[in-house]
């Protein structure tokens, strides 16, 4: 039964953040390690996680800083990479239906990462919890805290922290794909197979021909466009 009391909403959000936390801690740890390898101090690594809070962009930022790219070039590249996030808020509020609230969206939207978006969508789609801003604060806080904490642990552990554990290092590297696959399975419905196939195919093709960043954005738009032009009944059954 979906619970709807205010405090239950925040607690449910924290509970729902558990899989994200498990995924974020090792990845953020890896980021902290990579940041110190790239010559950043622990404070700089934690600062990037605190204010940027966008995993892939942060790893790319390390590469750009390492190559000595000008600030403007780095900023534009990273901003373009995060453009995909414009789709998340409206898609979530649409899924929330009559429960949609956005009075404090200026605050909870800060934590609307890929994983928070995907997990929240799955929770709403399965009817485990109704949308509430407290739920969004709960899931956002759990994910954010684990990201910042993981970064700090990795940064203070230093650049050679995982060198003696290659198997663990490899397993941590598969954490993010595993999380996305699990999220995909949790929202999967038969009617969505065509749009998912198009999203996957477009991402692979454009990543190969142009760039991974272009691949991500075009894959999302192409998949959503297929869902848009298909018969309404076919797409309506997708996440309800």
């Amino acid at each position: 039964m979906p619970s709807s009391s205010p405090s239950a909403g925040f607690r449910s959000g924290l509970t729902a953040s558990l899989p994200i936390t498990l995924g974020y801690l090792p990845i953020a740890f890896s980021f902290g390690v990579a940041a110190t390898r790239a010559g950043l101090g622990a404070a700089e690594a934690v600062f990037l996680s605190l204010v940027m809070y966008a995993g892939a962009s942060q790893f790319l930022a390390l590469a750009l800083i390492g190559t000595g790219a000008p600030l403007a070039v780095s900023a534009v590249t990273l901003i373009a990479m995060n453009l995909r996030h414009v789709l998340y808020g409206p898609a979530l509020l649409k899924q929330a239906g009559a429960d949609a609230r956005k009075k404090h969206a200026w605050a909870w939207a800060f934590g609307l990462t890929d994983e928070v978006f995907g997990t929240t969508l799955g929770v709403l789609a399965r009817g485990q919890h109704r949308f509430s801003e407290r739920f969004m604060f709960g899931i956002g806080l759990g994910a954010y805290a684990s990201w910042v904490m993981g970064t700090a642990l990795g940064a203070f552990a230093g650049g050679g922290a995982l060198e003696g554990f290659p198997t663990l290092d490899a397993a941590l590297g598969f954490m993010l794909p595993a999380l996305f696959l699990a999220l995909l399975l949790s929202v999967l419905r038969r009617a969505q197979l065509p749009l998912i196939a198009v999203a996957i195919g477009t991402t692979a093709l454009v990543s190969w021909l142009v760039s991974p960043v272009a691949g991500i954005f075009s894959g999302m738009v192409a998949g959503a466009a297929i869902g848009m032009i298909r018969a309404p009944r076919a797409t309506k059954g997708n996440t309800a």
Binding site: L40, L78, A170, A178
Partner: protein, 107 residues
Amino acid sequence: MSVDVIQLGLIVGAFTWAFRFAPTRLDLANDRPEGLFDRFLSATGPAAIATLFTASVLPMLKPGLGDQAPLAMGMLAVIGAHFWFRSTAIATLSGAAAYGMTIFVLG
């Protein structure tokens, strides 16, 4: 702390926040339930997750068929654990464990 790192973090952080927050101000109340924009938004979630999964897996693909064993085992473990436990957390951990163990076994 380097001034460049601070500037980069603040600029990118501000834009990322704006990308996440500003679209929530759109008024969706008057959008027809079966309208094109409604269907676009409904399809965005699954499309986004499929896209992010693909983008995260692509760099892991290796040229030889035998080199795909860790990836295949990891994905099978995620799928199996998902249908067995119906838990995203357990499925994620199972996949990472299977991936790491396969690499360990294959040396």
